[in-house]
Symmetry: C2
Subunit: 336 residues, 2 copies
């Protein structure tokens, strides 16, 4: 099934069930007023939402037109957002870019940071930027939402706790990262509010594309209307989303509504190299930091600028028939 939270003026929005083709929706308030409520009571609520989804698909209940622009992030605010780094190509490139060493432990111990979750941007909401020198960048990622996860779960058990899948734009301020990471406490000011796709879907909606707790489809990232990245999220992942959930739960339980991110989706080139831009026939990149590093390696200096007011980022994923699965994140940077 597909779920969204419509902006009704409340902080958590109004839960609706959305048709598979994203054209219609039906208010689910009589089952669960908000998505957080649904996740808090998932075992009881999910079958009822699934039944409503069937009715929406068969058009046996009154529906409204679904407009992506009216959707908030599926969880407009959440109790936890933790972002991993499953794609080693991204990690290698951004660390090279800031002159940081590749952690030896990366291949067996996932990188993960605790992100701010008190308020997410909507999928069509502007990105407020206080200062261009902060080096604003997008990061196109996959994220999953869990129910309650006990402390110490295995990765096999963790897979069963993944209830929903979404896309993310994990907004990053590259200019603030080196000083902040040098302090040793991780990201804080360098990671302002992220935005999620208009629709969250249950893993079964992905069919064969959901395998091994990864989404085996290209992530489409556009910058100012031009294709910027088309990396396949099923390729070159050192860790699956279930492994990232298990990592997060090693020393503590995770509460329902926890969002775990994949990190920036990134593919190597066919020869194991860092890949090529879309314009040169490659899979491209899901963030600007990567292409800047490629440019620096190839030409001696980075030429693609970070985001400025007026720049627009679009992140979407389509199924094999070309239909949008999650709706599109489409955000414009504005001066704050």
């Amino acid at each position: 099934m597909k779920l969204a939270s419509l902006n009704d003026g409340t902080r958590d929005g109004k839960l609706v069930v959305v048709s598979k083709d994203l054209t219609r929706c039906c208010a689910a308030g009589y089952i669960a007023p908000t998505l957080q409520y649904a996740l808090d009571n998932w075992d009881r609520v999910a079958p009822k939402l699934a039944a409503l989804y069937t009715d929406v698909e068969h058009q046996t209940v009154p529906c409204e037109r679904f407009h992506e622009r009216e959707a908030m992030s599926p969880l407009p605010r959440a109790f936890q957002w933790a972002d991993g780094s499953a794609y080693i190509n991204h990690v290698e490139l951004v660390r090279k870019a800031r002159g940081a060493e590749m952690p030896e432990s990366f291949y067996h111990d996932p990188l993960m940071y605790q992100g701010g979750s008190d308020g997410f941007l909507g999928p069509r909401e502007d990105i407020p930027l206080g200062d261009e020198a902060w080096g604003c960048d997008m990061e196109g990622e996959i994220a999953v939402v869990t129910d309650d996860v006990p402390m110490g779960v295995s990765k096999e058990q963790a897979a069963d706790h993944i209830k929903l899948v979404m896309l993310v734009n994990d907004v990053s301020l590259r200019g603030l990262i080196p000083d902040e990471l040098a302090k040793g406490f991780g990201f804080f000011q360098a990671k302002p509010a992220s935005a999620f796709s208009p629709v969250a879907v249950t893993p079964d909606e992905l069919g064969d594309a959901w395998s091994g707790s990864l989404v085996h489809l290209p992530l489409m990232v556009d910058l100012n209307g031009q294709a910027f990245g088309r990396p396949n999220a099923g390729q070159d992942a050192t860790f699956s989303l279930a492994q990232l959930v298990a990592h997060a739960a090693r020393t503590r339980r995770l509460s329902a509504g926890t969002i775990i991110g994949s990190g920036t989706v990134s593919n190597r080139g066919p020869g194991g190299d860092p890949g090529k831009p879309v314009s040169e026939g490659g899979a491209g990149y899901s963030c600007i930091a990567e292409i800047r590093m490629i440019e620096a390696i190839g030409n001696g200096e980075a030429s693609t600028p970070f985001l400025s007011p007026g720049d627009t980022v679009r992140i979407e994923m389509k199924d094999k028939e070309g239909h949008s699965i999650f709706g599109a994140i489409e955000q414009t940077v504005v001066g704050a």
Copy 2:
């Protein structure tokens, strides 16, 4: 006023107004069902809660007996928990202990990490510990709760957004910190669920002790019934709680219910030295890592062990007349 969340089987508990002496309480559900709801609607709700507090004090409304053991953390789960490091003595000692350099920026740029907020332990709830080798430690701290804070506020403006004050036990797994920080993404597994005091109070409850966005009273930390720390939270703070709120809001707005922590309260000795244990007439320490460093400096090796199953930590603060302000955090470590 004083507020608590009683355990009624729900995830967010039931909001009650508590008498100043912590003996009585009155359900506030008809004003706000939960503390998060109250914070979401603070301007409208706070005057009504304040009126009820007056009635509770005057015993003009029916009250129940208030039992600290029935209280959850005031926000049993929160949308944001970010912890600073206001007390430089603590930072110097724990960094020495793990051989990390003191960041040059510390005096003007606060250390702050994004903590997990999806589920806090109750003030009397056991601390589940998966492995003694993880080096479990307590950290006694002050925390404040904000309403909605706009991006880019000044520290003066930030002070007005502090609505509630609490105590915290920021549970830390010292054995996991070096490897985790070496990865560069900050704490994650090393910071399992924290616990907060049974009661949250508005700053006016602190009277003269609330000055410059700091609490000028000793924080009482006991380990297994013995006085372990009595540092004054108003002394030796490089940053006020308002400065920490402003730091958190530099690049993004903060949503209502954001909790900002002071970091471990720690006093220098009278000569600017790292101070002495309580047993030697000093102010002692609010975490074990500090006394271990003192022992290592003095005796060549640390002798106080980290927490083991059965150990009990108590954190409390009393006013000048000796009355408990927030109730006591009292937790026992158990094997998970």
